[in-house]
Assembly symmetry: C2
Homo-oligomer: 747 residues x 2
Amino acid sequence: MNTCRSVVEPIFSVSTAKAFEGLFTQGSGYMHIRGSLEEHLQDAPQNITYHRKPANVTAEEFPAAKAKWGTYVPGVFDPHPHLGEEMINLPFFLGLTPFIGGEKLDMEASLISEYRRELLLYTAVLRRSLKWVTRLGVPVGVKFERFISAARPNLCVQRVTFTSPSEVPISVRAGIDADVRTNGFDHFVGVDMAHVGKDCLKCTVTTNGGDDVHIVSRVIAQGASWALEGKDRRRDLVASLTIPCDKPLVVEKRSAVSTGRDLCPQDPYAVLTETAHIPYEVLLDEHAAVWKERWKKADVIIEGDDTSQLSLRTSIYHLLRCHVPQDDRVGIDPKGYAGDAYCGRYFWDTEIYLLPFYLYTSTESAKTLVDFRVRTLPAAQANAARYGYRGAKYAWESDTYGNECCPSANWQYSDHQIHVTADVVYGIAHYAYATRDLDYLKGPAACVITEASRYFLERVDRRPGDDYPSILGVMGPDEYTPISHNNSYTNRMVSFVFDLASKVGKHGGASESECRTFNEIAMALPILRDETGLVLQCEDFDRLAEPDFGKLWPDRGKPFASQVSQERLYRSKCIKQADVILLMVLFPHEFREAEIRRSWDHYMPYTTHDSSLSAGIHALVALRLGLAEESWEFWTRTSEIDLPFRGGDPSAGIHIAAAGATWQVAVFGFGGVDTAMQSDVLTVCPRLPKNWHRLAFPLMWHGCPVFIDIRPGECRISNHGAWELKACIYNRLCSIPTGQSVRISVP
Amino acid sequence: MNTCRSVVEPIFSVSTAKAFEGLFTQGSGYMHIRGSLEEHLQDAPQNITYHRKPANVTAEEFPAAKAKWGTYVPGVFDPHPHLGEEMINLPFFLGLTPFIGGEKLDMEASLISEYRRELLLYTAVLRRSLKWVTRLGVPVGVKFERFISAARPNLCVQRVTFTSPSEVPISVRAGIDADVRTNGFDHFVGVDMAHVGKDCLKCTVTTNGGDDVHIVSRVIAQGASWALEGKDRRRDLVASLTIPCDKPLVVEKRSAVSTGRDLCPQDPYAVLTETAHIPYEVLLDEHAAVWKERWKKADVIIEGDDTSQLSLRTSIYHLLRCHVPQDDRVGIDPKGYAGDAYCGRYFWDTEIYLLPFYLYTSTESAKTLVDFRVRTLPAAQANAARYGYRGAKYAWESDTYGNECCPSANWQYSDHQIHVTADVVYGIAHYAYATRDLDYLKGPAACVITEASRYFLERVDRRPGDDYPSILGVMGPDEYTPISHNNSYTNRMVSFVFDLASKVGKHGGASESECRTFNEIAMALPILRDETGLVLQCEDFDRLAEPDFGKLWPDRGKPFASQVSQERLYRSKCIKQADVILLMVLFPHEFREAEIRRSWDHYMPYTTHDSSLSAGIHALVALRLGLAEESWEFWTRTSEIDLPFRGGDPSAGIHIAAAGATWQVAVFGFGGVDTAMQSDVLTVCPRLPKNWHRLAFPLMWHGCPVFIDIRPGECRISNHGAWELKACIYNRLCSIPTGQSVRISVP
């Protein structure tokens, strides 16, 4: 195991404070909290009310702020007046602030040295240590540490340790601040704060949608006497303490959270009481043990390139964090529960970008994600009916019930980006094929597949003069061509749905004649090509205006969309993200290499990569095409997108789809593994970058755990499963008996 | 003069109450009030708060209500939280309610006979007479009459006359009700009500945008003693009176209005004081005298067809009413100030549908309308800048300052329906050519023309492989094809702008080289045709889905758009309104008759006429094509759209653009007059319908008043101007000396 075990913030800077705050997000699945400073920053109010309008998030400018708190319990959604249902930013309960001689610890104003903050990836612990020379001249050592317990997902545990060469009086303030907003809006219609017992603070907020959220914090410090301070929506417990000269002063804060929507309701006060006598270290150990199990199934080792190792492991950390254990009422939002820019809703990112990681590392997590779609079928049916259509149309932006939350001002996405319904079915199929849970397709998912097909039937048109059916008026993955015809990606995905429905639709209530129709259309939906054989993104894409990027896009550091109007985007041949290229990633065997190369050359000059979903997909295709330089460029773009010290910016949250894509590039790209959608046999054809000495990772294949260990020129697969496994390595078919491994060298 | 002088409501029915309320709207230009009942209806609250969302108004369903009050002062705009700036529905001050024996006069509950309500078109007076048999059995005659003084535009005068065969005690309640909403929103942040003097009620409201509106009502009845009643936002003056058996009891109510934005601020109390000693009849006479002058310049006589006469005259009544004297800060809203469905904003309807009526009947009114566009140039420049463009882009929905008020949810209209800017320039040119005020183009309007062209330069794209420039990504007049390329209407109109700018642009600051560019593009912008010569609405219109109207449009009485989703509209070959057909109306000499016929045949099956702007334009083309039946059908559709007894529905307001189109069909269509945009010489080639014995109307031609009198087979033109006039009648050129007339028979 190599040394890239933590992400480090070596010095504190206000300019990157919000980025590290996003990057250092911790979570248990049940809840997630951004990596905010315990004592907060000055001049960074979190109760600013502003009017966020529905917009293209890519081009949107968010209010400037030094810090942005974020405390989320997935699934706690409530109505925003303009944006629709959104995930609520809950009260901030990490507050733990030392004062010495009246001076507050302040990362900007205080004299700080020996600063280091790090997120321990393997244990999901956030640590900060620093030396604080107070105005009185005393050097005080301060160490913060915190984790959200993976073993007790409702529990957040914090500790701060003070040391000093001489005895120093110190006061500590531990609070809950409910004066927060979500996207500038105040969702709390009721806030109730109370001092419970001697050392507990209790906060209950009632949201405008009727959700109740309870937070109890207990502060623990030997000999401390806690007094209540604060008013309105903020309360602190304050104690005067002393740092002895001979040993550390330790203050702990433990907080527990519950909401009215919990699957297993727990009284947060009881959670604290139950754990009151468990020492910090024991809580930490049980937490770390859970994470250890997670990493065992998912860690990807890269040797020879610490930067890639660190970025990939950071991606995996966040993917593991976002895992929502056994709760199919929620998915994973595009900001990885590290921000509310996308209102905590669920998009197609889930199926196409995130699901593969879970499918091949943790079957249960993957099932939870596809079960979410099965469970929300009724909302998708209601959504189709809203358009006057039969069947089920999955929401572009789904809340926990599956309702379409896309604001009406963004109708072009919700009305026309219909591929999301096909992506949902693709994800379901991918689950079934990858896990070999084929009965799933005939069971609960069959209705989804049938209903999706019935919806798509409504979207198929036959134009006079054409000898093929068409899907008209759609937005493909490229959101800069809002209403186009026969988008190749959409057509192929819909064709996939029809084909699957023709086979399993009867289990979902489809008649034989319906199944025949599904089959006919599946066969007939075209992938349009021009006279040179170029796969067309859609009809008439080439009749749009040539964008003069040189003139219109002066600042390449920001998205193209932030520098031109939407109107210009919509009349220009500019592409937000992989579209035809994504099609070729999902169905690689249907396109010859020359054809892929032709698409690459044709569309690349128009592709802005404004979307974080773009780079990873391009890396995958570049690897297929043997474009070493390009694949490396896109690999670093996708893998470093959230590393502030590599130019990334997770201020508004983690680009969790890019994290998923990063894993896919590592495993499917460099590792050369075919997905279960592409091959029935475990097929591996590695393409290691020159500087990598080793790439190794565990994988679940058809329910069988394997370990794939790639070194230059060779690949070893170990079968940790209970049955013999067939594999195809470097195009050589072999069998791997249970408990054994096979090593194949490059032919 | 024939007998069609009034629109009559012969019986009262709740089912048509709101329609007649719209139809009977009165106004002075300064203010407009819907034809609501003085005593109101029961169960028709006007203070319902609801959430109106931005939507396609054509497909929108408005809250059901028996009655809808509307009191508007054009230009009083204030912000609505979701809809943007909107015209405010002001307090209702017409309230004048009799009670006899505790029984309120109630059109539904009372025993009513001999009912008749009529709007006297020539004098703009609304009269209602009825016999009310009270519960006590006494038959009481009631006659309401009211007018908004054209001579004193701030003044509204009401009178009610009671008669009875025996003496009857009666109480009368005269009030002001400020508890009203505009589109479901309460704009009033302050309401102040006071009893002033003995007989006056004063109401001042302050809007959320900071506008102050003052209303003072005085009640006049011999021997009455008025007491104040009511609370909150409603106040009434109440008096107990007696209807003598030998003579009528007359109660008058006079109300005056002022706002903080008035050009000539008047104290409304002073207005009432000044007119206190002027008898009702005298006020009526001076009002009627102004209307008489208006009609002299604008009445169109139809003999042989009373239905057409009445519908046309009703249209003209509303066009005359909407005339805004000398105030270029306002235009005319699509509901003719008889409803707030379009928020009182100004659209392209002004230039293309309304302006011709004013141009050829009242030069001053026409100038006010084009001056509005010149005055609001700065807002149009700011609007273009908002897109990152040079020049001026006129707002799709303009407020009094010219600001774009189209809600962001309707971005497809504001972003893509760019023809509005060309329509504005067309209107300016039409004004200059029709009035021969050619200096206008070199004077204040030159900047508009230059800036419009600079904006359009930003919208011209040159695609590789094309030998012509293109305008991409537009919505033409047909709003069901939201983003299309080279829309023929838009291209031709923009070409018109470039051509004009190449000639007069230098007066607006354009350089010689700019003017050359304008000229080049004007020449090169294409009107696309297919291989058969068909003028294309836009590129690829024919690649949209065939709409199955038979299946999708079960209720032809309602718009197609109300029965399918917007998503289906946008992928289907369905047309909201005249598009290519409108192009052919504006530039008739550029298209051969066979070409027009081909367009008619091709586009008609796809045209839904969902827009009220459609029928009139189709009537004009049908007349050109000699399609008698079709022209008649479209004539009745456009002219009867607001006549409830002919199937029309002005509930939500007057379709004022259809009224303008109705006048155009009469004069340009049946009358066969070429516009000044089409001919420099007054050209008349009548096409009388079979049943019409006569069609006669005054017209201002190049500043010269003429009277055109058409009878079957002949046409007489009288020159009432100060100079000899050339004319071309039935293709025969002639000269008409001043004061004389020329009669030409069909050759």
